[in-house]
Symmetry: C2
Subunit: 358 residues, 2 copies
Amino acid sequence: MTVTKKQYTRKRKATLSDIAEAVGVATMTVSRVVSGDGYVSEETRQKVLKAVKDLNYRRNGLARSLKRQFTETVGLVLGDISNPYSTELARAVRETLLDQGFNLFICISEYGAKEDVIAFESLANHSVDGIIVATRSNEGGDLYLRGLVETNIPVVAIGRDFQHKNIDLVSPDNLKGGFEATQHLIDLGHKRIAFIGANLGSGAHLKRLQGYLKALEHHGIAIDERLVTGRSEGDTDVSGYSTEEIGFEGMKRLLSLPDPPTAVFARNDFTAIGAMSAINDAGLRIPDDIAIVGFDDIPLAARMSPSLTTVRQPMRAEGQIAAEMLLERITGRANISRRERILDCDLIVRESSGVKRR
Amino acid sequence: MTVTKKQYTRKRKATLSDIAEAVGVATMTVSRVVSGDGYVSEETRQKVLKAVKDLNYRRNGLARSLKRQFTETVGLVLGDISNPYSTELARAVRETLLDQGFNLFICISEYGAKEDVIAFESLANHSVDGIIVATRSNEGGDLYLRGLVETNIPVVAIGRDFQHKNIDLVSPDNLKGGFEATQHLIDLGHKRIAFIGANLGSGAHLKRLQGYLKALEHHGIAIDERLVTGRSEGDTDVSGYSTEEIGFEGMKRLLSLPDPPTAVFARNDFTAIGAMSAINDAGLRIPDDIAIVGFDDIPLAARMSPSLTTVRQPMRAEGQIAAEMLLERITGRANISRRERILDCDLIVRESSGVKRR
DNA sequence: TTGTAGGCGTTATCAA
DNA sequence: TTGATAACGCCTACAA
């Protein structure tokens, strides 16, 4: 499994004292030149710089950080890296950090607790100054995270259902978004509206599903549990394009019902796109036979044909705000208490939901 | 711009000697327990473990790595993180590394040399054991990379047009892929075939464009430079969904020609999708009025309607092979000389290219 | 303007 | 089975 350790050694790299020796000064003098602060005569500075170049010296960040006690680096843990939602988030986070001179390391954690822990651990190992978590909540991960926070490393969660007095939360308003998506379909005259992406039992934490249920209830539509469908085998949250499959399979299941739905609200755009495929395959038309609404507004939603009605999530804002909150925690001295920012989503009405019925 | 440094200090974390003191043993003993190697009596081991838990001790990876001289971490520099191509690559790289006990840090470098250098630098600062580069070649980045390699840090490039005696290369066969895509359109009877995604002048390095040109030449079709179109303003390679815009704008430009093309080969699938949009907007049909072929075979290519004919790039294989090559360089003692792996691509014929004309 | 001393938190090495 | 010591490469603090 693991490779044999300490097997491999590289040619030794030049260090400060190598330079110092070469030039004939103290290591501190070299350090001053390299760091660019402190007084050094122009003459020695030039000599040092020459040696630095000649010996191809690079400062050892490990030693530097060990001494200085910070790295000016932030870690971002992403779950579903294949989802444009995640990547937009990452880009926004990075831009915000870069403006403040911080670097970003992204870790992928696709399949739950074990990988979350690996990611957190490797970031902590490298002493990042803070961590932004954008994976789904899970017991093992949460536990480890709590431990980490106790050591005073700043953490901000994005869309992760997780409570801790020192962890800020940034999240889209999934509940309201789910409500509005469903209400939109109800307004169009639909009565049999399905939800694809989670099961009634296991999806308790899924705010989008709750919004769906709330909207039905609010409009006096009975909940039909056959219309709420997740992944057939088990409930494990999986990521990547598999959500597209979930949409495809879920829709097939719905279509095989004695009385299939006339409308579908999908957990996210990929799920919606998968569902659209299944509808097409069945020879049905969207939105005429079945209306469909997604969630996220990934760039391709607008490009589908028919274009996809969806709930737009402010991905960039989420990333930016999370990064800002984290930076405040990192650079601020005070013990900030938990903050929560729930961001509004917008229903983007396009072709896939169709026009009013009747 | 930059935040005030050394401003922020955290509560001091427990160290090995804190534990040692608490338990009443030497730090080495604690180190042995924590690292899990070396002989420690079960009794002291338990006492130490208890103290570790009580004090919420976490090993300082910086100090550890400084001493051990390796981090078991690899860096991956990605350009266009919004492209499923990149994310599939990343997933494959990560899986391969994880199997060998290595962690992966991903850095984004979207806009060329300056960001490349920032990414390389921050990875080098953290002393990653090796770097995989999947951004487009550029002078500044290449230069920095060369310097890095001189310090004996292993580097593997993916699809990056870059020569160095100690940098391995993994790449899809863009030339052949471009050739076959174009030949496919020629075989279907097309004579006026456009290329979207680069200009004739600036795209010299673009193998896909070269493949296109070669195919035309091979079949005795004259090259019409108006049919080769990139981004209107300048040639800067940009990333993300902007390539979709390039496709959209490029197609519009082509459609406004006195004699527009009857077929289009797009630099990648996003570009193709953008072009399809423009064609739809113009009220033309695909493939009847204009046939189109993309490159990459991102998951959505199959889901478009019409589905997109494209050249499938073996993204996962590229990632896996690159990771394996890097691990060989990291764990191997010998000086491996440059290796190059060019992977075959497959033309996936779907609806967007249509059936034979005439 | 430059240098010296010491320590950041670990682990390799040798000794007990 | 455990401990003492030195060193990884750098920077802070102070001294010259």
